[in-house]
Symmetry: D4
Subunit: 230 residues, 8 copies
């Protein structure tokens, strides 16, 4: 493999990973590191390549060891405790005009909601956070209806039966991206109940990402929010 460490056709081959340094041009956002399952050294190596080519860095699902080596190399790195994310913003991406709402049904859904909010912010969106407005106390949701309608897109994280996105979608005209969380027990089956609930939403226009995938929901929301600029 003579190509190792060389930039060939838009990627850098580190042997254990091919860093996609062409993403920013192709997809509009830089490559992101998914920390889970990688060693701290692997994360460091990939981070160096990304920061050599891209203006910002996001590491999601990071752990303490990864945080340590990153902070040692880049003191300006920021650790987001609830979201378990690391961000480095060398040259912050341009701010978008639209606002994104990140809503969650209960306190326990906060880590997932925060992963979404941090991702949105590092990718250039302004974020408004709305917490603990589950359908069992529907007055709490009705109270924030106008805040939601003023946003360009709404990310909704919910566990248990995952009913919140349906209620939100019925109240506003904006796209709703639903994130099922693994919050629950017994027949929630690790978030499956919420996932199925969201996929079967009677609220038109709800789209869904993987369980606990706050990053994915935020990425899609950022893509949508960016459209307003054009």
């Amino acid at each position: 493999m003579p190509e190792e460490n060389a930039e060939v056709g838009g990627y850098v081959n580190l042997g254990f990973a091919r860093v996609d340094i062409d993403r920013m041009r192709r997809c509009g956002f830089p490559e992101v590191i998914f920390g889970a399952g990688k060693t701290a050294v692997e994360v460091l190596s990939i981070a160096r390549e990304i920061l050599a080519h891209d203006p910002v860095l996001l590491i999601s699902r990071a752990n303490g060891e990864q945080r340590a080596v990153i902070e040692a190399e880049w003191p300006e790195a920021r650790w987001h405790e609830r979201a378990k994310c690391i961000t480095i913003e060398r040259n912050p991406l341009p701010r978008m005009k639209g606002i994104v709402a990140v809503v969650c049904a209960g306190t326990s859904d906060l880590p997932v909601a925060e992963e979404a909010a941090i991702t949105l912010e590092v990718f250039g969106s302004n974020v408004i956070r709305i917490t603990d407005v589950g359908v069992a106390g529907i007055h709490r949701l009705l109270a924030v209806r106008d805040q939601l309608e003023a946003c360009s897109v709404i990310v909704v994280a919910a566990g248990m039966e995952g009913a919140l996105p349906s209620a939100v979608a019925g109240l506003v005209s904006k796209p709703v991206i639903a994130v099922p969380t693994s919050v629950g027990y017994g027949a929630s089956f690790g978030g499956l109940a919420a996932l199925l609930g969201m996929l079967n939403s009677c609220g038109s226009g709800v789209t869904v990402v993987n369980i606990d995938n706050g990053f994915g929901a935020a990425y899609a929301a950022a893509q949508i929010n960016r459209l307003i600029e054009h």
Copy 2:
């Protein structure tokens, strides 16, 4: 089997069935015939035994053939088209004081809701029917809140994501019995999504019956409604 057709220890043995003629005394409501999977002749035989001992008869999940033989023998039998039920009320059971609400999320949930309503009525409850108040148009539900609170127990039938019981339970102080329906497609998996949603309801006090089991929900509601009499 010398005992056949004899009343031995509280049941009549017809060979293919042992009719529980002791239920009325033991459980407070008479035996009911579940029509599905039985021949018209079997239904007729069991019906004769029940009407020989009990004041009313309910046949659920009935088909046209069963309806024909029953109407031939008892012209006073009533056919309930949407609910696919047959009822005969020789001596109507005493009316209970409380009212039971039967609520459904969408038009397609009506057959299940009607099975519940008919069962409740033949067992002595007054019923109020509230249709098509799913969470995607939450204003429709808020408009009937006071009607619901005035009942002693609420049966809620919903398919798709099954979110309605959570919203109802958060609005009122009365017990909510949730019936998932098989309405939906794809990842509703024949009502599984609604069932899981209801089991994981964030609305305290929601209890659940089998998919499409309008009869079971009504039976439980009748048992509860009866408590007020005491």
Copy 3:
């Protein structure tokens, strides 16, 4: 978010949670804290808000840390070891007339049954506990039949095949609320077998809550028991 810590429209917004201080008026029972997944500090903050507005407090699925901070602030708090619950009864709720039976199939179902019993007691019901009367020794169940019939509602916790609620429902005229427990192994799939068994119960009128959800069963039972007062 200027509304933080203010009572707006029936809730107190703590940022990470909106405490529903309107529940007692709306639903008849105060807000309850589900301890699992919350930090001790979060539980403490929510507890302060609830006790500022409501007469009693229940924290379910609590852990040792939560217990420590609660006991530090309110020495009168009671810890229920088997149920893993904390209760504080400033002004005990009025006692209801009816009695609720909490029945369990085996010794291993006791933690779930105790969560139900403690919830019922703090919400004003008198409780009778009946333990280890599974269907494999049906004489043990027959021996308590009259005790069960004397109650207004019966909570039945069972793991493995979850057959006990069917047998109970066939013996008495009172509503039966079934709680599948995660007791079992192999093809019990964490309580799924018991859950499916209860949903498919041949005993009319059995309603079901989530696996291990002793609290939910108790809440529904308390709602039902309260009806007798009217």
Copy 4:
């Protein structure tokens, strides 16, 4: 394939099937034809081979066409309507000493129970049939306890929650073979609920066969019943 239609090493190769004419010697019972999915002509060809070597023939899951060609060739063939079986007993197998009970929970379980009963009879067992003794009316089961204890082995067919085998196993000292049936709807998932219930039975010694597999339960019961002869 020069071996076709020749007896090579204990089987006859018909091209589309290798008939195991060595089974009677090896396993003690002759080869049986599972009718489902075979053409009438295939069934006829296999039947000829079996009757050329074995004293009795059983065709399970047979349909009308298969019945027609079999009756055309062997007028002494018997059709069992409920069980959908065909039997031909050229030289009936010797009668065994023990009796086998075939019990079912409800009327709808009868076809499966009959498949078991017919299989047992053609394989030499005396059978006692006990119908409709489900756990929701436990007095019906207690009434037949002594009949059950007098048998050498008990086959129990039940759908819905499949609780009957547990109750039977707790009453007697004899082996219980449980057959889940596909009777039920919704969350019975075609017999899965009954199957899981039986596998998780709290009644010691319950063994289980496939859903609706009356033949398999009977075969095992016949093997067990035969042990008494030795």
Copy 5:
């Protein structure tokens, strides 16, 4: 129910349905009729209410009977054979600026893709259809990359392993909405394999709707496409 047929609080109560005539104001698109499971008469009644208040009508999952009564009343109604949709455009909604791509992996995914395309068109989007570009012949997808990038949002329908959205998302910067289809057999489990594949997509920003839910994907795409106008 004195309110029947009256407009109360934003809906018309037909007894069997409450038509949400407030949707256009609240959500920006009119109410839509889901034909499956409704009688032709029910569809007709709801259609009359919608057309009395809204400029366009879409009936999805329609059948021949429904088509007949609709065409009898409104000769201008259009039937879309592959999509099984009926549309009536009294006052076509204003055309949006952005284009939406509707892509499908194989010929068999066309009905779902067409449901999406028709929905988008009646809701005011221009649509470009790209068919049969599954990943097993990746050159077919690469050939249309620029067409895709020129759109504002991309709907991708795919059955079997559902891999196409991942490949699309890796090529362009626009939001991708994935629709799993029930195309496949065996371990596709009615579209479950495609659904899981899309939820676990390695392509950032892919959001997912229910199996075969072309309408839902289109609704979300229309909401997104509309953002450009602002």
Copy 6:
């Protein structure tokens, strides 16, 4: 509960458990303690009651703490390391005439097979153990065919695809009880693959118990083996 600790109707009520001291008379074998999920003190209390009434004691799924308190009270207790069982044989049960074979497919299935073997021995059966004869080396199974045929019943433990019982059942005329084990990984889903394989066995007469339920298989085998005595 005045009945506590008293023998009422065939059981002793310890509060947390009702010990079934009537089992030996009713079912022919004494009550057994399932150790998992019980405290050492609970196990000790139940053990005292059983030994006060029954000649032998078996504790399955025991842990080190339970072992310690049992050995402290009854030094003659035996610990079976691989099977995680404790046995005390005050008056060993009478030896049965028949032999039971306990067969396992691989080394990793041994703990389950040993639980079966120990149970059989304490219940009076002679056992022959045959290890590691999986179908991937079918010559190993053929070599022990005559040993198997000489037994009265055969217990077969196997994980992975669970194919061994089918092969055994095709070789001999004796009843085969199959125990799926949780041995395997990935798509074995904790023994589900083996369980389904055994339920669908093409080998006639195979009956199945729960995953890893060596005790249950042995109990059934002991019931069968006992029949020979009569």
Copy 7:
């Protein structure tokens, strides 16, 4: 779409399909038509394109209508009844040196086995068919061991518990490709039991394709068989 019907970049765009006329060069075998879900006219159009570029044509999962239009256009087309395939061999592909065995466990697995055999033959392999050698009569399999070892690769189709591939893989040194079939009932769950059994095979080197996917197994076998030529 100006490109329609033109050959652009290796495919022909028919609007509803892009025929991959580059496959023969890229993958070594021509494009194949999967008939299920396509109209007869669509099949005809695609068939014309393939035969215009490739020497042979295979249509799998064909129905009577498709057969009619194909035979009308190409009288030399061959219909394979059991396999439901149509083949046209204008210029038969060169014969490969190796032989492929197609083995099936039971008569009901024949349609899947035949789909595999026909595919292999049209792609240039010589095939030996071995039928009904399931593990419940292992002597039937041992009798053909040498025939199997003489082949270069072995396709094994089996339903129910799917144990046959494990036994075959343990007897020979050649690659085994397992095809689970949907043969079975109850807990076979449409072939899932066989699929899981094969994936968990204790026989090293067994690889698996989708349920009933005889074509896929054959395609892989043909790829392997072709390697010998090089």
Copy 8:
């Protein structure tokens, strides 16, 4: 069991295991030790038997303890950290002519890919490793197309949606063996999503092994690669 430790009919009976010393002759590769679930002493005993009869030894899924005892006895043993394998090559197997590609979709799939690569090498294949070429950056895969086509067989490991094998199979003419990995979270369900994706691959000729079964894929690949020699 007098046969213990003796070589009887091609295996050595160690009591807890029957070592298949006939495999090399029968299947062409020696017996392999699956370390998981075995004690270090058991592994050592089996290793001694294998090395007494076979030229090379592979222990997969090994742990530190097993490594310690093996290295103590055979200092030449090699430990493969990422793959968790131990290999001893007394007399390396002859090198095969063909090359096998081991491809993986992401960095996290490396442990599974390495298990495959090590297995292939110890069994005599030359291996080329290609890492991190998932479909979300399809240019990375296109860049290695010619390398892949030059191999005789390709092993592809991928988690998440498991789409890589489809893309590979569409690019080359060689057999593709897909290994789903358990990489992912939420609705990946421990590799189930990848497994289903691969089984439903639209890429003809993809065969699949169990989740994380790098060894199994390599074994099949080695069998195929060996065919070239003949």
